[in-house]
Symmetry: C2
Subunit: 340 residues, 2 copies
């Protein structure tokens, strides 16, 4: 059943039927009713390919997925996706994943924009002066950044959590408990979130006249193994830190293992706080010693990003609105007063 048939059936022109269905004003209300009813009754659904060709809009949102033999997709991605799906499902919004060579995402961005494959895109894990951001900005496709970048002469719409604030609070708590030697096991130092987190920790330390030693900060990709290695190095020093702030639960698993291997205890010898993106399959309260966390649901962020993308597509949202979510500090058994 296509538009032609439907309009024939109603003895109306395609124009009128199309307009009635799409809510244009120049059609009599009663006519609109008739059309709507007939459409519903016959289960008419406009052909999206045709609509696309005519309007240039696809009704989909896009994400360029960096891939490559040496590239691993962040496990957080799947949770973000859950959230995105939560919103998109209710709005028949589909998501197009365009795999790209991690070393050349630009080609793919250009392709999807030139082809008008998607109406909007989102960008995640941005770095300072991230090229993708500058690119989509000039390409003129609606977008939202999940996270923040820095060092541009233009503003852009984003959704981020207060990474600096969160890690500032975490560090402050530890300092209040008497810890003087803090360490930070951070994510990839080139990503903005990691920079913000480091900033938060440093600021808290500075407020008490303390500093983050050169060797007391590690920036690594977030795997269990990297968490373990980083923790071992830190703890095997002559004057090991008495508290660690860690950028992910997965790395925290490694930290816990390292502490065990070295026959130390949490929180006796070491206090530990980690950031929790809220995975359903790994909960901080179920760590051997319940883990204190800075918590922010990445899933909710996904839903919000989808919502805002939809708003931008329909031009309900405009401009460079930035949104920063506060982060909860949840204190559990893994922190205690500094030893000694």
């Amino acid at each position: 059943m296509n538009l032609k048939q439907l309009s024939h059936m109603l003895s109306l022109s395609q124009t009128t039927v199309s307009r009635a269905l799409n809510g244009y004003p120049e059609v009599n209300e009663e006519t609109r009713r008739r059309v709507m009813d007939a459409a519903k009754h016959h289960g008419y659904r406009p052909n999206p390919s045709a609509r696309r060709l005519a309007t240039g809009k696809s009704g989909m949102i896009g994400y360029v997925l960096p891939t490559g033999a040496a590239v691993d997709i962040d496990p957080h991605f799947v949770e973000f996706l859950s959230g995105l799906g939560d919103y998109a499902r209710a709005h028949e919004l589909d998501l197009v994943l365009s795999p790209a060579d991690a070393d050349d995402e630009e080609t793919t961005y250009r392709r999807i924009v030139a082809n008008r494959q998607v109406d909007a895109v989102y960008i995640s894990s941005p770095r300072p002066a991230d090229k993708r951001l500058a690119l989509v900005n000039t390409l003129g496709i609606p977008f939202i950044v999940h996270g923040r970048s820095e060092g541009f002469d233009f503003d852009y719409p984003y959704l981020d959590i207060d990474n600096e604030g969160a890690f500032h609070e975490a560090a402050r708590l530890l300092i209040q408990l008497g810890h003087k030697r803090l360490a930070l096991i951070n994510g990839n130092e080139r990503e903005t979130f990691a920079i913000h987190r480091e900033r938060g920790v440093r600021r808290a330390l500075a407020a008490s006249g303390l500093t983050l030693g050169e060797r007391h900060i590690r920036s690594v990709t977030m795997t269990e193994e990297n968490g373990y290695r980083a923790a071992r190095r830190l703890l095997e020093e002559a004057e090991p830190p008495t508290a660690i702030v860690c950028s992910s639960l997965i790395m925290a698993l490694g930290v816990v293992r390292a502490v065990r291997d070295l026959d130390r205890t949490i929180p006796g010898d070491l206090s530990l706080v980690a950031h929790d993106d809220v995975f359903p399959w790994l909960r901080p309260e179920n760590f051997p010693v319940p883990l204190s966390t800075t918590r922010s649901s990445i899933r909710l962020a996904g839903a919000r990003v989808a919502e805002r993308l939809a708003a931008r597509i329909s031009e309900l949202e405009e401009g460079a609105r930035g949104e920063v979510w506060p982060v909860d500090l949840v204190v559990r058994g893994s922190v205690a007063g500094a030893p000694g």
Copy 2:
């Protein structure tokens, strides 16, 4: 630059240019050269929307993503996706994720087929007599199942690993080491892979005149917490199992924690084998006691599924070919002879 302009430029008809570009035979080789060169030189790329409308092919593959407040996307998904991307990237194949209400995926499948949004779909985590399978089969869209279903009167194309064989081997090894009380911490019992794994364990036990006690099998969703709970229950029995086979690394984390909490040791009191889908961020060799595993890279499976989907789209692959991959059994420190 569109076809019209290009053909004008070459003083050829759109027909000829189109045919030259798409490799049809009824065009002079020299003409084809000219066309190809001009197309490359001017950076001509056919408009996909137009092509879609004309051919009905979208050049994308689809996946219906079950979502809902209570639905969590399997963390394995992201690794599978990495593999899919590895292949798709090289072929400019995009992936469309269509979020659907987990309780009603049918509507979404019907929509994407009716709208011809994608040329092929894949289905993952199938259950016996899975409705999605019957549905896509009747809808007539090319598809591949990642995993297997059972109980249909038709065959279908799939890619699966030898779950039964893998768990048979794992159980057999443990039995050879003298274990008589095995337990299985399995995934959701309604999914085929879990059924196959259970079958494998039972078969190995039966071969030695042993059985899997009613209380020695747990089917749960794969979270750390569920692994912990299942292990505790098992280990707190009067006659606890001396070996556990576990369906995922994530659950194995919980098992390890439970063993610790009960002051037992691996492999002294308990031997442990788990299935490893090969996550980059959690490696069995890095468990407190290196974990024996049945290993199969879900990422490679993703790449293979993409490859086969592409083949089916271009009709290079047909029929109901099933492909079953063998699984490696990797023995590490977590298994030992039965205690006592």
